[in-house]
């Protein structure tokens, strides 16, 4: 099996789970965030179900020297709590609370015939590219400038 087929398979299972758990319905997500109103704790159980699996699976997988189809594991290495982490998470939370979509359900909803999904995806791409344009291009220039030191 190629890495591409594996990615498709992983996405398929993930997307099926998003729909089964109703996380592709933004009202369900907003109801989870609405602790002062019609609170619906379902999302917490989705997280719990996912975490039980990933917590155990990641430990089993971590004992292997390398993934089955690739040469090495690619894991985040950053560990410091910096301002972009906190500010970025806060901005994401505001957007999540406004629209009721995070990236996974927004993309998964593209096949469900709702007009909201394509609109959301364009806005999501615009936000992502705006961040890249504002910060990443500049920091790359800075990195290049200091690379020889």
């Amino acid at each position: 099996m190629s890495k591409n087929v594996a990615a498709l398979l992983a996405g398929l299972v993930f997307g099926f789970g998003l729909a089964l758990s109703h996380m592709v319905e933004p009202t369900k997500v907003l109801d989870f965030l609405d602790v002062a109103g019609r609170w619906d704790p379902s999302l917490a159980l989705v997280m719990a179900g996912a975490l039980v699996v990933t917590f155990i699976a990641y430990r089993l997988i971590g004992r292997r020297p390398k993934p089955l189809l690739a040469t090495h594991f690619l894991l985040p290495t950053k560990s410091e709590l910096d301002r972009p982490l906190i500010v970025g998470a806060a901005i994401f939370g505001i957007g999540w609370g406004l629209a009721g979509y995070c990236p996974g359900p927004g993309i998964a909803a593209l096949g469900l015939g709702t007009w909201e999904a394509p609109v959301l995806i364009v806005a999501l791409a615009a936000g992502s590219l705006t961040y890249r344009w504002m910060f990443e291009a500049r920091s790359r220039t800075r990195r290049d400038a200091t690379a020889g030191q």
Partner: protein, 143 residues
Amino acid sequence: MENFTPISALLGGVLIGSGAAVLLWLNGRIAGISDIFSGVLILQSGETAWRALFLLGLVAGASLYVALNPAGYTPRTGFPVALLIAGGFFVGFGTRMGGGCTSGHGVCGIARLSIRSVIATVVFVLMGMLTVFVVRHLLGVSP
């Protein structure tokens, strides 16, 4: 809590976790969807095809569930388009600045016991709750 659906939530969560586990086990990658999505927006050789196929899988997987169980999905109607656009933009911007979303930080990062991911998840859930409180209860918009 008349809208609480514990069984489908748990089972769906188990599948979401399984998809993430498969991606790490086979490809050695974290299933951070905001990262995969933003990665597909700029073409990188050797990195674009698997990302695009993972996202295609997301779409196909959700469609498959709804095809098998049409009563299992109710599209939202009458939602203000301005809120949708503003929300989507903030989600795109914030997940890039914070380095992850509900999947990358919330599911994969917490499973790796990353302090960054635990803090990010607490922050975005609390800000989401605050935002919904303002929109639904202070401004009286009840979508």
